[in-house]
Symmetry: C2
Subunit: 199 residues, 2 copies
């Protein structure tokens, strides 16, 4: 497709155009959904012709793949690692931060819902994503349980699904009505109930 | 539009066609989303021409309104009323039941996510719906608190948002991977934590 010469000019231009198209698609997929968006609309938003955009993204699926890759990059940027209570504090801080960028939250909300259909191009991506998130949370909670930081009798597997569900569901309510819920405060109450060491 | 004569024939036929179109739309909106669906696809699914369907539903918005009305009717059919622990038991039974009809769950999941956009035709519907759900839950939890059924120190307002969020988020995970989570068991754990009288 585009001739990447290794020199600055054409490559930088291509990267810039791709980045602008991805940005427009994040916004459009987050509002109209992947199903409701068209490549033509993305092209319009970045002031390109459809043919020009297809030079970089031949179809909507290839643009979706780039959007999900970018989403992962941004989402993982601020994520704290490790199994401790500090990690949970980091997660709570991240929840407050993410309200400054509702576009990414909307993208997650709309695409994950659409992707519940088995024939959606991001179906397997979201299956894998949730499975990975649950597994990471389970490891963290098991580690906490072994240190005695978890209240007795709670199943780490169930707790992992619950905390992820709570974040998704509260963000949906927040996106619908920003005065109605305080996502970070509610998730903090939840975590504190099962892990008393969290303030 | 259609001549409702009050006699059996034409009225019954109209009602039947409307019901079939609504059924097809519930299915299609739940997979492709409202944004991704077209009236033509709905017409195809019920074996009508677009013009024939438009006789009953002139545009996609009027079909959406009928779908949401039908959704409300079905969703409220099994909902237990009153503020007691029995109400919560009823809710938990309903969660198990709803897994037999994933179509309605998908519809709720996809439409509510799409409707986070302020210009979605169901935006206000879902704002009202969540506000009503939270208010009903708050009343119930306040009543329980006054009887001493709620653990001390928990804010009924926050608990209401949390339990609704938990159901939505767990159903999303279940729709993506039905072996991954047990919605009813996880919601039971949550409720029991804050309302010990629930078994």
């Amino acid at each position: 497709m585009s001739t990447v010469t290794g020199t600055r000019g054409p490559y930088a231009k291509t990267a810039k155009l791709r980045a602008r198209a991805i940005e427009a698609a994040i916004d459009l997929f987050g509002t109209a959904g992947y199903n409701g968006a068209t490549l033509t609309e993305v092209a319009d938003r970045v002031g390109m012709s459809l043919t020009g955009l297809q030079h970089h993204f031949p179809d909507k699926d290839s643009l979706l793949a780039a959007v999900l890759e970018e989403r992962d990059r941004r989402a993982s940027a601020g994520v704290p690692e490790g199994p401790g209570v500090e990690t949970l504090e980091g997660l709570l801080r991240m929840l407050s931060e993410s309200e400054k960028n509702p576009g990414l939250m909307e993208l997650q909300c709309v695409l994950s819902a659409e992707a519940t259909s088995a024939d959606h191009p991001a179906h397997e991506y979201f299956q894998r994503r949730y499975s990975t998130l649950r597994n990471q949370a389970v490891s963290g909670f098991e580690e906490m349980a072994s240190r005695g930081d978890l209240v007795p009798g709670i199943d780490p597997q169930q707790l992992a699904a619950m905390v992820i569900a709570l974040v998704d569901g509260l963000q949906l309510q927040w996106l619908l009505d920003r005065d109605a819920v305080n996502v970070e405060a509610a998730v903090r109450t939840f975590i504190r109930t099962f892990i008393p060491a969290v303030r």
